[in-house]
Symmetry: C2
Subunit: 531 residues, 2 copies
């Protein structure tokens, strides 16, 4: 198994159709399970590699964005097929590099494949083009010219893979899939925690691009164990947008670089969240034990390494809440400690727990089993006044740790919500008797989260049309966009208006005969094709 | 006339339902035509005024954004009625403050009114809500929950009025209209060049808000002759987005402030452009004289004080181009010098012309009549190599000045296009024989402009559904949005997803029965109401 895996991984970067070993320092992937470095070594790239990849992306851009949508849809489907065809080679390398269980990785692969196929379908459906037609009014004073608008690709996109989703948020993940769908070439920087997985996936994309007869610059994959290459990538003039999933520090650093460019560019960074879960009184009273079970399952899923991990519980104090805590303690008590993605994440988690323990008024409420070098699941608790007095308690502790904020009454609960930073998600556990309170709280939640969940748990992000994965700062750098689902494509499009154009010069989406058979908007009114 | 106008202007700020005289320095409007200060004095506001207006806006936000769209539509229509009801009072004050002719101001008022009514219609149409519904799939493994998304208002918006459109891009202009339509309270800062016009318009909005029974914080109007108040406004935590039309320096300063906030916010700044016009060979040869006439009319419209003023002509050298220059010179020769909006703009224009004259290879090609303290229209020319060597030549000289770049051949023309900064518009003058060349150039133009015009002139920005007024940096701070037309509303909306919600807790746009009768997207497929 190991031989087979390492055989197909060379440690080189993929720059267009070429391989190029990075010369700016060598690094190896680390196996969190084995505690040892993995073969082969990877060569970190430098500014010349960034220049080569970006120049190719720029050269590929006009041809790629102008393709009929069907061609890009076929490319995405070929990438999906290629990922599946890698079979166990991909899953086993990803398992070695991340310690994520094979079953989880299998699920993540399916999600990645489904995501590519969803964007292929969405490309064919065509609403993403946002075609709007306003006819000429030659009789009006002054006369109105014919005006037509559609969205076009923004330009080459830099994609930064996430540590916690080696497939779905990495080299062929949501950012790459939506950028390619939009018509944007991608220059991806592999996450150094799973460079082998990244190379395997990158080779699938490289081959799909070649087999589709597309310009080689449509995709490149670069390596660096540090931050210099990523910085050069964001600063390169050919790059027109950035997709990033990771820490707040990392996202803000890229954002600052992008803003300081001679031509600033948008950074779509999905950063951090504690994803508050509100246990409303009637629901808590009716089913404290079931809620506790659901909470512990969500908290410990993937050793808590999800951006939607439920890190904050909020409830009104009382006997029902004590039943919840007791049941959570019982459920947690038998949960084994889990191996985190990297030693760095393990250290940060340990420090996060110690910092939490040291905060005024914070008590341990429940814990999972402990093990050396592994992450013990943890539920802490604090009163609302202590929470409100201490902004540190809103910081994400990446891993299976949650904090329960116990409120005296609904007024304190509202005060806690009012103090919350922006979030990816907010969850309401509620029964019919909770509806009046939920009605009052909803406006607060809408302002603070991109997704609001009723009677579910935040982990598990469906890839579909109505998904919003994003949210007010600091959950993401741009609350007006989603990084999951078909909405994600809008990050990489911009509108262009064509005024008074001869039909022959219009792009197909806007031609009078509607050759792409699009749903289009005429004078603001949606019209199905052929009607 | 003057008495009537000054009687209704008090020089106070409008903070919610209150009047509050600013105490941080007094200033007067200046009449560019009379060369004298106008009554009454205006009191500049301070941080306390910003705090009061923003706190009210924050308090009004949830009620305002949750209104049924019909209520906000009625508010916009009432504002439109109120503007018309001001009659000559408004036009005469605006004329005094800006020197813009009454006929032009009449047109601008109509545009402002039409714009408010268009957003009212668009509110009722409802596609702005972007409703997306993906049904639950309980049988799937894992089961899919019900997911529904819509766009909601982003929060209170700061609006900075523009000097060159005292009505259409000022207190009740496109930014305010689209923000109010989206459900965002507005705190407007009046442009100090037309504070009286601003107050008259502000009072109309203030009255409309009161008569509609809406919370007073939906609208406030602040004054400041300097920049301190605007800075405090952008930094106020209640403000969630900024709309700005003006200079690049001003836009970038606000953008930097907005990014440096603890919670960064988006700035939608429409800044500067030279709006290249390409005279393609066949068109130039067929109708050089007609093109010259159209160009001079567009250049001198409103004394060149439009963000879409055609400041750059690009053409291949030859006899046809010389015919164009000769005809333009003849048409310009009889154009009177015009009074610019402010003495500051007049000074900057004069300096801009002097700077242009001093650049290597730049020659005067044609000029209008000169007059002391007024703007002489000017056409300069330069060779493509000299243009390419000098980035200064891409800078906007706000006023009736244009530069003709003369290219040796189509290759040089492409090189000039490739070197251009982002633009609001790009124009192609072309005949059938120019189509092959236009096909080659279009990809370059699409990447550099928000609107591409065939056989028209860039001045005259239609307010409709397909308009895009924006463009790649530095034309605007965000190329993904438009500041004119119904697309402008999207700047002030963000998507929110509701997962597994009981119907009773869903917002109306997403309820199963579709009570707002919206066009909605089901599983990615558009569906008309009732179908």
């Amino acid at each position: 198994m190991t031989t087979m895996t390492t055989m197909s991984i060379s440690g080189t970067q993929l720059i267009g159709s070429q391989e190029r070993l990075g010369l700016a320092g060598s690094f190896r992937a680390h196996s969190p399970l084995r505690g040892e470095a993995l073969e082969p070594p990877f060569g970190g790239g430098d500014a010349a590699d960034v220049e080569a990849a970006c120049r190719l992306a720029e050269q590929a851009f006009d041809e790629f964005r102008k393709l009929l949508p069907e061609r890009r849809a076929a490319l995405l489907e070929a990438i999906a097929e290629g990922l599946l065809a890698l079979g166990d080679t991909l899953l086993e390398r990803a398992h070695l590099e991340t310690a994520l269980p094979l079953a989880r990785l299998q699920g993540e692969r399916q999600r990645t494949v489904n995501q590519l196929r969803l964007f292929a379908d969405w490309l064919r459906a065509g609403q993403w083009q946002g075609a709007r037609l306003d006819a000429a009014l030659p009789e009006r004073q002054p006369p109105r010219p014919d005006l037509r608008a559609q969205r076009i690709a923004i330009g080459p996109v830099a994609v930064f893979g996430a540590s916690n989703f080696p497939l779905a948020f990495s080299v062929a993940g949501g950012d790459t899939a939506s950028a390619l769908a939009a018509g944007c070439p991608v220059v991806a920087k592999a996450h150094p925690a799973h460079p082998g997985t990244s190379e395997l996936v990158g080779r699938v994309i490289q081959r799909a691009v070649a087999e589709a007869g597309l310009p080689a610059g449509v995709f490149s994959l670069l390596h660096d164990a540090g931050t210099a290459l990523g910085q050069a990538l964001v600063q390169h003039p050919a790059i027109q947008a950035v997709g990033f999933t990771g820490s707040r520090r990392g996202g803000l650093a890229l954002q600052a670089l992008a803003q300081a460019r001679p031509q600033p560019i948008p950074v779509f960074a999905e950063m951090s969240a504690v994803n508050p879960v509100l246990l409303l009184p009637a629901a808590l009273s009716a089913r404290a034990e079931t809620l506790a079970q659901g909470f512990v399952d969500s908290l410990t899923l993937g050793v808590g390494q999800f951006c939607t991990n439920p890190g904050l519980l909020i409830a009104v104090a009382g006997p029902a809440l004590e039943r919840f805590v007791a049941a959570a303690a019982q459920a947690l008590a038998t949960r084994a400690a889990g191996t985190l993605l990297t030693p760095g994440i393990q250290r940060a988690y340990q420090q996060g727990l110690e910092q939490l323990d040291a905060q005024p008024g914070v008590q341990r409420a429940a814990a999972g089993l402990a093990a050396e070098g592994a992450a013990q699941a943890r539920l802490s608790r604090v009163s609302a006044p202590d929470f409100l007095a201490n902004p540190l308690l809103q910081e994400e502790c990446f891993g299976p740790s949650a904090l329960l904020v116990s409120c005296r009454d609904a007024g304190e609960l509202r005060a806690v919500l009012n103090a919350l930073d922006g979030q990816l998600t907010a969850t309401l556990q509620l029964d019919a008797d909770d509806h009046p309170l939920a009605h009052q709280l909803l406006p607060l939640l809408e302002r603070r989260a991109g997704r609001i969940i009723a009677n579910g748990w935040p982990t598990g992000v469906e890839v579909c049309h109505a998904m919003v994965h994003g949210g007010p700062f600091p959950a993401s750098s741009n609350a007006q966009h989603s990084s999951v689902g078909t909405l994600a494509m809008e990050r990489f499009l911009r509108p262009v208006c064509y005024q008074g154009f001869p039909d022959a010069l219009l792009p197909p989406a806007l031609q009078e005969a509607n050759p792409l058979q699009l749903h289009r908007q005429h004078e603001g009114i949606p019209r199905a094709p052929g009607r």
